[in-house]
Symmetry: C2
């Protein structure tokens, strides 16, 4: 981060016509954006949300309220511009990029970026979700997309995902990386009932027992109990940080990928912003580990990057304040 720009940005924010610190986390956001971009008042007009999609073999254990085919249907829906993330992105001036890194779809709808590593993971309750080379390949997909996103001129990017079964994978990754008991992490995902919730916890426990991922090796964790879209998001976060591109993470799945990224390269945390606090219990635990504070508390649990895109206007508001407010000196004080 550019320390000089951060000092200048803090000075600028402190001179604006408001009590010191009165814009709270918006001020922290501005100062960190200055550190990333090197500009006291950054330009974040060009925004994108990248939605990484993948299927999960663990769905055969009955961990989701929806059948796995919904992953493919939603990929189509994103391309048709008809999902929540599309509505938010249109409203808030962001482009939606849909990346198939591991769905079971054989024919991709126009508009999907085809970066498929394999057609869904294996059932992690029976063995590793994928091979290590596949996880590495998915990470590379993310890295390359980050570079591409930067080259296209985007200035602020949201990270999202779609994959029926992926809260199960994300929770397993979270349990492994943080050492938190599964019962404190497991949530209802798309909306399962009490019986399924209990079973989901057992599937996660069993998957960790069967695979014994090494918590000190995030790639091993992503390989054994993760997912293709999770690994790709980890790569994307690493790549965007390397490209000095500020990123907004979404719910529990992208945040699990972010923790894996930060374990691989702690410095990438500087480029990450939390957006919302989801209903999934693991999300709060992950955000605490990352030391990030979500601006929106709306009890959402949708994924797709929807919460991250919903946060874009708050960033725009902060930048508008930094650009347009008078200083106390202007008022003669």
């Amino acid at each position: 981060l550019n320390a000089e720009a951060m000092v200048e940005a803090q000075k600028h924010v402190d001179n604006l016509t408001k009590p010191l610190g009165a814009l709270g986390r918006l001020e922290e956001t501005l100062v960190r954006l200055a550190g990333i971009t090197g500009k006291v008042v950054p330009s974040i007009d060009r925004k994108a949300v990248v939605v990484f999609c993948g299927d999960h073999g663990v769905t055969e254990e009955g961990v989701s309220a929806y059948p796995p085919e919904v992953t493919g249907l939603m990929i189509r829906n994103f391309c048709d511009g008809k999902a929540a993330v599309n509505a938010f992105a249109r409203r808030f001036g962001a482009e939606v990029r849909v990346v198939d890194v591991g769905s079971r779809l054989t024919e991709l709808p126009a508009g999907t970026l085809d970066r498929k590593v394999r057609a869904g993971t294996a059932n992690m309750a029976k063995g590793p979700a994928m091979r290590r080379e596949e996880a590495v390949q998915a990470i590379r997909v993310g890295l390359e997309l980050a570079l591409e996103t930067k080259e296209k001129g985007f200035q602020l990017v949201a990270v999202g995902e779609m994959g029926i079964g992926n809260t199960t994978a994300a929770t397993a990754v979270s349990a492994s990386l943080t050492g938190t008991p599964i019962e404190e992490l497991v949530g209802r995902g798309t909306g399962i009932n009490d019986v399924s919730l209990k079973m989901k916890g057992e599937v996660i426990r069993h998957s960790l027992d069967v695979n014994r991922p090494d918590p000190s090796d995030p790639v091993d964790v992503l390989t054994k109990v993760g997912g293709l879209e999770l690994a790709a998001m980890t790569g994307f976060i690493l790549g965007a940080a390397a490209e000095r591109l500020p990123m907004v993470i979404d719910g529990v799945i992208s945040t699990a990928s972010a923790l894996a990224a930060i374990r691989l390269a702690p410095g990438s945390r500087d480029y990450l912003f939390a957006s919302h606090l989801s209903e999934e219990p693991a999300h709060r635990v992950l955000l605490e580990k990352l030391g990030l504070h979500p601006l929106i508390h709306a009890g959402m649990r949708l994924g797709e990057g929807s919460g991250a895109v919903l946060c874009f206007p708050l960033f725009d508001g902060a930048v508008a304040a930094a650009r347009e407010m008078a200083t106390f000196a202007d008022l003669g004080l």
Copy 2:
């Protein structure tokens, strides 16, 4: 509220391509907006923020980090379009209306609505802040402005304020109306130090002892330990509810006014939406009493309606989702 429209709105939201309830409080917002407007997908394009301004005699006790003259300077700043609320309002498509209901300014800048009831309150540490007739007159100012705002065609309105010293008044009102101990409510306002914070608590305690407001009579509370802008906001909230105009409240001061309004007319709560959770400890207590859940947690403590306007795009996002998302039937599910 229109119960039929709410049922229809819930049905519509449940059919959209997302897990049931996955948009969390955005869904509750949509359903309540349907109840208010009678429309399954409401139109909220025309937005305004009404900023009520007043001065406080209690500033002579040294309860604020800023001199009372800042109230007048900020009124000018609002009219010049140079405060945080202006920057947010421009970005998010809202009109700013500045209402002087009780500042000490003798000449008002062009653009201010002159509805002055008196030039600042008296020092509540020495006696009542105003006379009951004055509080009633300020409430009437708010009622009339609500009617005017509705007649101008605004569809969603934020309530804000400016008045050096008014967290002291709002905290006294909160202590009286909720019966919560002062030490659990008092905060740093514009940013006072520990010594001043302790003294501010004592000034509030003393003001309540001297004036003994009747908690069962909100007008008495506003008269004795409130403020002109607080009373006007109470009137505005009552008036907007009567006009079926959805309102977004801001920080601790507008929320104290809202609690007074709800005590006078419990039904007005249906038209109120929380926006953000401020740093002032009393804010959380007041929101709990109102049963409202703020969408933004940014540690802001600025007032002006800034947090409420910052919430406007989240409402717009919710409406965009309701209007533009496909249903599962569209996907063939």
